[in-house]
């Protein structure tokens, strides 16, 4: 745990914007733009893939609320919501997070890509290939019910002779 920089931030509640039982929201200490916020699971997970589905749902729900706040209080013109899954996708830290990046007109941030031409045949091949792989998509893992804790009955003092009398089956 202590190996992870962001687990450390969560522990210290560094730059905290919001938290609930499973998630932690902080102002990014390494911002892409002013007001860059990261939304993370409290439980350590190296990539989004390792975060349970129901927590991912929460992360996006909270990221969306952060977007609204970014528009309202920072007067941003736009937001980018970004997850970098893997080093090749730009992930820098060993803790899964959803980035909310406030954007302004002509802010000079280089975010985007050059659209490529794709041939009809390539697209069809890809469609078939991915369709095969998405069969399990949409089946979500839900939170396991916590075991209900029933308070153990306290040790009763030796029964009073009068009570004993009452409980006696006639």
């Amino acid at each position: 745990m202590s190996e992870c920089l962001f687990c450390g931030f969560i522990e210290k509640k560094a730059n905290m914007i919001f938290e609930d039982e499973k998630t932690f929201v902080m102002l990014s200490p390494q911002p892409f733009s002013p007001g860059h916020v990261v939304v993370m699971p409290k439980k350590h997970a190296p990539i989004l893939d390792a975060v349970p589905d129901f927590v991912v749902g929460d992360l996006f729900k909270i990221a969306n609320k952060v977007c609204v706040a970014v528009f309202e209080v920072l007067g941003a013109h736009g937001t980018n919501v970004l997850v970098q899954n893997g080093v090749a996708a730009g992930q820098k830290h060993n803790h899964a997070m959803v980035h909310v990046v406030p954007r302004m007109e002509n802010d000079g941030l280089q975010i985007g890509w050059e659209p490529k031409k794709a041939g009809e045949e390539d697209l069809s091949t890809m469609e078939l290939r991915l369709k095969e792989e998405t069969k399990s998509v949409g089946i979500f893992e839900s939170e396991k019910q916590k075991p209900i804790e029933i308070e153990k009955p306290k040790e009763r003092p030796a029964e009073d002779i009068r009570v004993k009398h009452i409980k006696r089956i006639p």
């Binding site: 920072l74 013109h77 736009g78 919501v81 899954n85």
Partner: protein, 192 residues
């Protein structure tokens, strides 16, 4: 959202299946199709069936659903296409790179040095400015949840001390189109 806007929205028609597309996944809330102008092979667009222009118009339930689908499609791409990474990306508003008046979430297969710019570098931030933003955002987010904002202290800033290599902003004029304009209005404070 006016009804005729919905009827004219190409992405609504793609999501509903009226316009054919390379569909890789569908359920009652979303349709996932291949981008015909992909950033990389296997680039998926997740479209909501309900006409939503930007994320903040979505219900908690819908965005949570879209997020979970995005995670699973990301995993699908990682395993199924054997790529090194997967980016999940949303642009809300033209300033953020949104091109169409319908919400879409991108799932993009990634490989090292693929030239896709979804890893912006850190900017240098002033501690005082950061604290001010922190305070504002903590209050703004707390309001969204109907809670008290957390205490704000000295912000942790671990930005690299490198100067931000400010790329030349391209003064792109917004394309003509009333749909996009109305979204921009929405984003710039002409709140509904």
């Amino acid at each position: 959202m006016p009804e005729d806007e919905e009827q004219q929205c190409v992405f609504c028609h793609i999501a509903s299946g009226k316009i054919p597309a390379k569909k890789v996944f569908e359920d009652d809330k979303v349709t996932a199709v291949l981008d015909i102008n992909p950033a990389a092979p296997g680039h998926i667009l997740v479209l909501t069936k309900e006409h939503v222009a930007i994320m903040p118009q979505m219900s908690d339930e819908l965005i949570a659903h879209v997020g979970m689908i995005a995670k699973q499609l990301g995993s699908t791409v990682l395993r199924g296409l054997n790529v090194e990474g997967a980016s999940i990306f949303v642009a809300n508003g033209m300033a953020a790179g949104q091109r169409a008046p319908h919400f879409m979430l991108h799932v993009i297969p990634r490989s090292a040095d693929d030239g896709i710019a979804l890893q912006p570098s850190d900017i240098k931030v002033d501690e005082k400015a950061m604290k001010d933003i922190w305070q504002k955002l903590a209050a703004g987010v707390a309001k969204q949840f109907g809670k008290e904002p957390p205490q704000v202290s000295k912000p942790i800033v671990e930005g690299k001390s490198q100067e931000k290599s400010a790329p030349k902003p391209e003064a792109k004029k917004p394309e003509k189109g009333s749909d996009l304009d109305s979204i921009t209005d929405f984003l710039t404070g002409g709140k509904k």
